[in-house]
Amino acid sequence: MNLKMTGKQRALRVPLTHHQRKDELVRSRLTWTLIATVLAAAYFFIDLIPNEGGTGDERYSRGPVAAVHATWEKECDACHIDFVPIRSDAWASTDGWLASLLPETAGDDPARASDKKCMSCHKGPAHHSNEKASDIQSCAHCHLEHKGREFALARTEDAKCIECHSDLIDHIGGDSIYPDDPIEHVVLSFASSHPKFRSIKTDPGKIKFPHERHLTAGIKLGERDRGELKLSGLAKHHADRYMKEGQSPDDAVQLACADCHKLDSQDLKESLGDGHHTGIFPLRSGGEYMLPMSYEMDCQACHPLSISPGSKDQVPHGLKPEEVLSFVKDYYLREYLKNDPALSEREVPRRRVPGKTELSTDKIKANKAVAQQVANAEKHIRRVCNECHYFENEEASKLSAVQPANIPKVWFKHAKFDHTAHRAVNCQDCHAGAANSKRHTDVLIPGRNLCVKCHSGRTDDGMQGGARSDCVECHRYHGGDDPLHGMGTKDRVGSSMRKVEEFLKGD
């Protein structure tokens, strides 16, 4: 007897009504579908539950906003207008049928309506006075948000600049602002097609300062030059300042770049000691730009404005010719009186004695003596001034006004430069011509070709490139014409002032 079960017998064990009840897999599938539906719907409708500290829409944010905007992380309305594109390059936002469907934005261009929100705090002046209006994009076109707390909003990618600069001639409205000096119309990158620096074609400075002489030991060029300047020949505080490690007072003065070129007035304070007042100099803690030269700090030690040859008494720097003469005259009058103290004690009659000249004999004598000394001093001072300055009237034998120094405070008019960022590099590596520069008209600022050695793509041997070379490394879009204006805009005041509460809510 075979008690094993056949397929037929097995099939007959299954009740015919088995299909009327769903199996566990079907039941779980339906249950989970129901749960997923409820959860997904709840995710959206949870917005309707009133909550504090935001609308809940921040859940839809595509990423954290930059740290400077973190206050409005949960205030989407601070920047966005509902159903209006925030970026002018959003598809169909500026024209076409889709743009016509956008909500009314009070007559504004829908593609730039959200800019008003940005400009309630930021000014964002125009890039160029002659740029085409159609090229002006919305703020969010260049300043990409929701890229994380550390994202630099002003670090605009090159592609944004190249939109116009790859073919600038099509993007200039009206006449060129440089009619005599055509600009490069195609700039694709700093390394490949950036033009030479326009700002450093000539040195407009009017100070006779040959770098070569000043960088030579003893500030003496050859045997025919005047005597070697030794540290002992300087005033003590100047000698201390210029004395290098291992030098003695009998050694010749050997200037280094940093003896004159200071990044910060704090540097001056350190080198001069506490006894010197440096508050008159601007404090730039950033250290991007060199402080302007000053006679008192950088020239006086070796070029004292002595009132006469060998005199320790000096004429103050910066006076007009008539002020210099007045100062010198007063000086010699005082000296004259010092030599004849009785003269100053003599009583001057209150009323003029009839028949007598107005000036007494002594006075005439004194005036004559002082006038002679002043004339001698004028000649001496003119010679001293002439060492460094050009006179307005070079032909005149008398002391005349000097031409303004006119040394640029900032050389690059259209770009920024940070000396501190380059502090680890020898000065001569960039300013190579300085040590051999005989004329003050030599431009010693390096050109593009030198910059591009570092600021370009890295070469395989590692000897060139690698440093950043994007546009915003050197240029600012807004207000970039004047780097000293700071954070990229001439007008940093918002268009409207609000209460703190309104500001925090992004109203």
């Binding site: 007897m1 075979n2 008690l3 094993k4 079960m5 017998q9 097995r10 099939a11 007959l12 064990r13 299954v14 009740p15 015919l16 088995h18 009840r21 769903k22 199996d23 566990e24 897999l25 779980s28 599938r29 989970w32 579908t33 749960i35 997923a36 539906t37 959860l39 997904a40 719907a41 995710y43 959206f44 829409d57 859940r59 839809y60 944010s61 595509r62 990423g63 989407c76 966005h80 509902d82 159903f83 209006v84 594109p85 925030i86 970026r87 390059d89 959003a90 598809w91 936002s93 929701h146 990618e157 090159d158 592609a159 190249i162």
Partner: protein, 332 residues
């Protein structure tokens, strides 16, 4: 839906759609990237076009579910197999479309949730496709005793009851002091009252008639005979065989393993007289059935269980996709 060499021609049209669509979307994206030297982003022209296409396909994919409903099926829009082929290949086409639309970013909370839902839905779908191509063949080869998945527990309990009746028939009633008394169902059944008669099978309705059953008569030499050492059979049945037949892999019975089962039944035969061997053979055969049922259940869960992930998450994906569209337009 089989995707093999034999069925390749049926899929060819959709494979071409998939390949051409993928190539076109990559070319479109790359062209825009080259023009602007930056990735186009999700809100640019390319991003929106690819996003709309991907979203439309996802909606179409989702239509496969309502199509299963009788009313929708009655509309007779295309064959089920055609729908399935479109579902597979268009579903795969959404991978480049959605990936390029995302601009290779996760984005914020909502888009990250959407991305993960999408990945899991696509992943579970691909798993399901592979499972449908592999498991049925495996099932056919390794589970000859296959039955309807939902009836496995019912049929197994039936087997256990029948086996118990058989044990009762050949071993006779258990002594009063025995721990192994028959279950109530067996004790009261007609076959238990009539030694030698074993009912094997299920009483089931056929039309309006009810009561057809299958009966097996024990062989003459076995019917009514008391085998020697019946306690050995009874003991093993109630401690090892019956729990396994009832609970299968959930029990701790060594019969879950084929090798151990062979060994145990060999030992049992050694302790019984030869007349009992057919009964032992039947028990061993039914235990093999139960093992196959367990294997079938595992395979069935793999074959169909992915739908318990695929379908609910597809539903969530579609709902959140509409939320994504709404939010994307609101904060355009």
């Amino acid at each position: 839906m089989l995707v093999d060499r034999k069925n390749l021609r049926m899929h060819l049209f959709w494979i071409i759609i998939f390949v051409v669509g993928t190539a076109a979307s990559i070319f479109y994206y790359y062209h825009e990237y080259q023009q602007n030297e930056r990735t186009p982003g999700g809100s640019g022209e390319v991003g929106i076009v690819l996003g709309v296409l991907g979203g439309a396909i996802i909606l179409f994919e989702f239509m496969l579910w309502p199509r299963r409903f009788r009313k929708v099926r009655a509309w007779r829009i295309g064959k089920a197999q055609a729908w399935m082929r479109a579902h597979i290949w268009l579903g795969l086409l959404t991978i480049p479309l959605i990936w390029l639309h995302s601009d290779f970013n996760w984005g914020g909370q909502l888009s990250t949730i959407l991305a993960w839902l999408y990945i899991i839905v696509i992943g579970s779908g691909v798993f399901g496709l592979v499972a449908q191509n592999v498991i049925p063949k495996n099932l056919l080869a390794n589970v000859p005793a296959e039955t309807i998945f939902s009836q496995i527990e019912y049929v197994s309990e039936e087997l256990a009851t029948d086996a118990e009746k058989l044990v009762l028939a050949v071993c006779g009633p258990a002594p009063d002091d025995s721990d192994f008394q028959p279950t109530e169902a067996v004790a009261t059944s007609a076959s238990a009252m009539r030694p030698g008669l074993v009912v094997q099978g299920f009483q089931r309705p056929v039309g309006n008639a009810f009561g057809r059953d299958l009966r097996f008569q024990l062989s003459a030499d076995l019917a009514g005979t008391q085998i020697n050492n019946p306690e050995a059979l009874r003991n093993m049945f109630y401690t090892t065989i019956r729990p396994f037949l009832s609970e299968g892999a959930k029990s701790t019975s060594p019969l879950r393993y084929r090798d151990r089962s062979l060994e145990l039944f060999r030992e049992l035969r050694a302790r019984l007289s030869e007349e009992a061997f057919p009964v032992v053979d039947a028990m061993e055969s039914w235990c093999e059935h139960r093992r196959q049922f367990d294997r079938q259940a595992r395979m069935h869960r793999m074959l169909h269980g992915w739908l318990a992930i695929h379908l609910p998450l597809s539903m969530a994906l579609v709902i959140l996709m509409f939320v994504h569209i709404f939010v994307a337009l609101k904060y355009w």
